[in-house]
């Protein structure tokens, strides 16, 4: 696979915003997208004239099945007043958002466009959990992979068993990822789970008392996570709190050619590296305890940016499941293979640790509206790098950050690298 050199024209991020993430059955994809668009507009320091936008790329996995609406891009363009601009939907399952960003980066770097709107959206909660399970399954290989009964959590659970077998991790190590995600999500007002596990436990107990049922008691968070009633197995070893939730939400970014960034803000964030790779269905992966597509995407992005994994101060990675976050930190070169779970246990990836990962709460606590997830990762990077992340702000300068977005069973991975100058 040939690796591209530096971008021929610089690309800057000058605005980023998102709708609240959660369960919003009354809101359509277009409603959610408009909310994110307006939030993005408010984030642009000098404001912007919508007439300056030249094209729209939007990540969306399956509006066709979730909402019964195909051909979504022109509908979203219409919802925010951008018809007749070119509008294109990008679909790479859960990596649709990251792939949409890459299209925008290429459009600007090529010189074709100066100002590009990038979005991501997914309305999911109108379907039942069973129906959502079936729709998400279609992100795997429906003929040679999912036909054996695999579900989406099942695929990552199988990777977890391969990882445990090779490196000696225990299922309970995964709890540490969930604890960290929820601690961060508790500080993110846009998160679906804007509450800590302690708050969650208190809410469960209160709900039981209200129904005159015996209130459950747990000694601590780990005791709660061990409780099969509170935290049931979905696909062993993954339990409910190992899985990202079903979420409605949208996010938007404004990308411009670097030469025009100062028209919008004195503090732009530059996108200096972009990498993407594909892979076979899980059975064909060279390594069942890692994602080669992620390693190749990271290698491409690092090389384009001229930086190393050790330079990255902050990352939002694709934690659709707790095991996925551990594997991501290894595939990205942050930690040697087989050591990622110990790093979580030791607090290395905590918000106040040396290598913060998923300060937004991640897909796990912030929520996972599939097509929007890769865009919302960048919203967190934007806020953190500019020192605007409020209570969850990471201390110190953040000159380099990274996003990692995985689609399907590892069939797609997209990595981007961000610089604040």
């Amino acid at each position: 696979m040939r690796i591209a050199g530096p971008l021929s024209r610089g690309v800057a991020l000058v605005g980023a915003g998102m709708s609240p993430f959660g369960v919003f059955r009354q809101k359509t994809n277009r409603d959610l997208f408009a909310e994110a668009y307006l939030d993005m507009g408010r984030s642009i320091d000098r404001g912007f004239d919508p007439a300056e936008i030249e094209t729209l790329y939007v990540g969306n996995f399956s509006s066709d099945r979730f909402e019964g609406q195909g051909h979504l891009a022109p509908i979203l363009a219409d919802a925010v007043g951008l018809v007749p601009l070119p509008a294109t939907r990008v679909e790479d399952a859960c990596a649709s958002g990251g792939a949409a960003i890459r299209q925008a980066v290429m459009a600007i770097a090529s010189g074709m466009h100066d100002v590009v709107l990038v979005g991501g959206v997914e309305q999911m909660t109108r379907l039942t959990t069973l129906q959502v399970t079936d729709v998400l399954s279609t992100a795997g290989d429906m003929l040679y992979e999912m036909g054996s009964g695999f579900t989406f959590p099942g695929i990552f659970a199988a990777m977890a068993t391969a990882y445990m077998h090779r490196y000696g991790m225990k299922p309970e190590h995964l709890f540490q990822v969930a604890l960290k995600s929820h601690a961060n999500g508790a500080l993110n007002p846009k998160a679906q789970f804007n509450l800590s596990l302690r708050d969650w436990m208190a809410a469960r107990a209160a709900a039981a008392r209200q129904k005159d049922l015996p209130a459950p008691t747990w000694n601590d968070e780990l005791d709660f996570l061990r409780d099969e009633t509170a935290n049931p197995t979905i696909a062993w070893p993954l339990r409910l709190f190992d899985c990202a939730p079903i979420t409605d939400g949208a996010a938007c970014l404004l990308l411009v050619t670097a030469g025009r960034a100062r028209e919008f803000t004195d503090d732009p964030i530059y996108i200096i590296g972009s990498g993407q790779a594909s892979d076979h269905a899980l059975a064909g992966h060279a390594d069942l305890a890692g994602l080669r597509a992620a390693r190749l995407a990271a290698q491409s992005a690092y090389q384009m940016a001229g930086v190393a994994a050790s330079d990255i101060r902050l990352a939002e990675v694709h934690d659709c499941f707790t095991i996925a976050e551990i594997i991501a930190t290894e595939d990205l070169g942050f930690f040697p293979p087989g050591s990622g779970y110990r790093m979580v246990e030791d607090g290395v990836t905590n918000r106040d640790g040396p290598r913060p990962v998923n300060t937004s709460g991640g897909l796990k606590a912030k929520g996972h509206p599939v097509g929007a997830s890769g865009i919302a990762q960048v919203v967190e990077i934007w806020e953190q790098m500019r020192g605007e992340a409020g209570e969850r702000q990471v201390r110190g300068d953040l000159p380099l950050a990274l996003t990692h977005n995985v689609g399907g069973t590892g069939g797609t991975c997209v990595v981007h690298i961000y610089e604040r100058r």
């Binding site: 009964g149 062993w236 069942l288």
Partner: protein, 138 residues
């Protein structure tokens, strides 16, 4: 058999005959599973069907408590989970398959590396027979 196209329909036809078939490139000898019309190694399009070994080992697995709707229709649910996994065949190729001969309720007792043997299941869907690729722990 040699004349069947390298399609999923052909693969399923073989499966219904209780055969797990892959493709071999006549130019470079690379084996391919799933079968492909174009060699993933040398990109030649001269492939031939070859039968895959019936034996292998368990490479990864999971017990699924919240299953696909098709599996719920077979009677699996939270109290009756099923096992799916990845089997590494004796020739080094891997496949996704239903895993039999294990206790899905005790996943901690299922061992990666366990020897496995091919067992193709027949699922009846609206009167039609649908073959399902499965392996049983020996």
């Amino acid at each position: 058999m040699q004349n069947l196209p390298f399609t999923y329909a052909s693969f399923a036809t073989f499966l219904a005959q209780k055969k797990l078939m892959g493709a071999r490139c006549q130019a470079c000898g690379t084996l391919s599973l799933p079968p492909r019309a174009i060699c993933p190694n040398c990109h030649a399009d001269r492939m031939e069907w070859v039968e895959m070994p019936e034996r292998g080992t368990l490479a990864a697995f999971t017990s699924i408590y919240v299953g696909q709707s098709a599996l719920l229709a077979e009677g699996y649910d939270r109290s009756n989970p099923y096992c799916a996994g990845i089997v590494e065949l004796e020739n080094g190729l891997r496949v996704s398959a239903r895993i039999l001969g294990v206790d899905p309720r005790n996943p901690a007792g299922i061992r990666i590396g366990s020897p496995m043997i091919l067992e193709i299941l027949d699922r009846k869907v609206e009167g039609d027979s649908l073959p399902i690729l499965a392996f049983r722990v020996l």
